[in-house]
Symmetry: C2
Subunit: 140 residues, 2 copies
Amino acid sequence: MSKTTFSIRDLASEFDVTTRSIRFYEDQGLLFPTRKGQTRIYSSQDRVRLKLILRGKRLGFSLAESKELFELWDQTPGGSMKQLERLQAKITEKKQALEQQLNDIAMLQIELDSAEARCQSAMQELLLQEQKALQEQNAK
Amino acid sequence: MSKTTFSIRDLASEFDVTTRSIRFYEDQGLLFPTRKGQTRIYSSQDRVRLKLILRGKRLGFSLAESKELFELWDQTPGGSMKQLERLQAKITEKKQALEQQLNDIAMLQIELDSAEARCQSAMQELLLQEQKALQEQNAK
DNA sequence: CAGCATCTTTACGTTTACGTAAACTTACAC
DNA sequence: GTGTAAGTTTACGTAAACGTAAAGATGCTG
């Protein structure tokens, strides 16, 4: 079976972040490792959380946003109707933002492809000129 | 035909950013409006640039990154082989990052859907309990 | 038990991307 | 001419997300 606890360094090297960052996330209320003495011990739950935090960052989520989502999520079982409605609203909001991102990505991909083509043909052009120069030199 | 020049306020309201931001982008070397007197005049080229800047931001690009891409792009015609290779490398890098983002988005979408379902059923549960409470009160 | 590696807390520093305020011109509107 | 609305420059302030340095606790290792 897979590991159940992790040191801060385990997580730092697995996800390629600094220990400073991981402690900072705890400071901001996004992670709650237990302690053995004064050393932090992370559960696989904590590990999942960290993964989510980092993925959120890659998608432009602030730490505050991720924290809010975590909190809403944690309160889902036993939450009041009002809390659930807030969660639903947040989910809808995020879904729409993701749609927008998908659009952005699709457009940028097209443009990158076109840029790549233009770049390639510019390089091809340079190579041809080079060849021509060589042939002229041989013709001497 | 479509407009060819724009005031700073035109762009600000069209793209929903502050004039401060637009001037800041110029300060950082991403925009180069002409002047009429001391007032900035933006071309439709500038407008496209701004749109690209903002889309870049939504995808997590820093202003410095966007600037670098613009500069590489602008140097494409007449660029040296080394510059073209750098551009090609950047393009490849960005394309890979976009693939990663697509993965991230796909996973997050799945999780949001699942969260939404759980949220909905929690709300449904609350409604049922409410109904039950009402019926018991009627039974009195 | 001395040393070193790894953990910890505390705290000040840094970068990015603007916000905000002050003080100043221009350009119409009345 | 006089607001006043929109533009300008200059400059200091700020929030987020850490970086970095200092100084001490802890645990193995030879």
